[in-house]
Amino acid sequence: EDQVTQSPEALRLQEGESSSLNCSYTVSGLRGLFWYRQDPGKGPEFLFTLYSAGEEKEKERLKATLTKKESFLHITAPKPEDSATYLCAVQEIGTETSGSRLTFGEGTQLTVNP
């Protein structure tokens, strides 16, 4: 069974203090790994998709990286507006015939203090 584990559960940073969030996964074959941002009371907002080990993607202060067992979301010099819950999800090879379903982790709640 697919498993996605995110750590830490919660992270509190000072503005400008860089850090990383972790997403480890166990699937028989990875088709894609997805990062989302979720603000309180809202739906998840798509950030990145990573498809193969070694791939990296960046958006503003966020950079996502992927290895064969885990992904990191690096946050450089965060600002208070980066405060949100960050969700990781994986799609396993072979799920194309079952709706391309995603398996989600429980998320990391990030708080950036001014």
Binding site: V4, L87, A89, E106
Partner: protein, 114 residues
Amino acid sequence: DAGITQSPRHKVTETGTPVTLRCHQTENHRYMYWYRQDPGHGLRLIHYSYGVKDTDKGEVSDGYSVSRSKTEDFLLTLESATSSQTSVYFCAIRAGQGARYEQYFGPGTRLTVT
């Protein structure tokens, strides 16, 4: 926001009553999904649709049914609501090209079953 709306946004209902949640999209996407989000579980797939009148079960489908009579609308029905179905429900669509696609989420419906 991928043109996804959900209605109602909030609902309180009593145990044993039927409830229908609506997801509406404006961009003609073939795939649509219903998830529920609960503390300690993350997002879990309830049902999905891969076309008009084509639906299939997800990992937590017991107690739920779905219907899709038009491309733009995907309905989730709780035939007889129970307190365990108190949750936040998200609709999503799949967008992309070729073998690369992502899921985009609606704003959610908060359902409370008393």
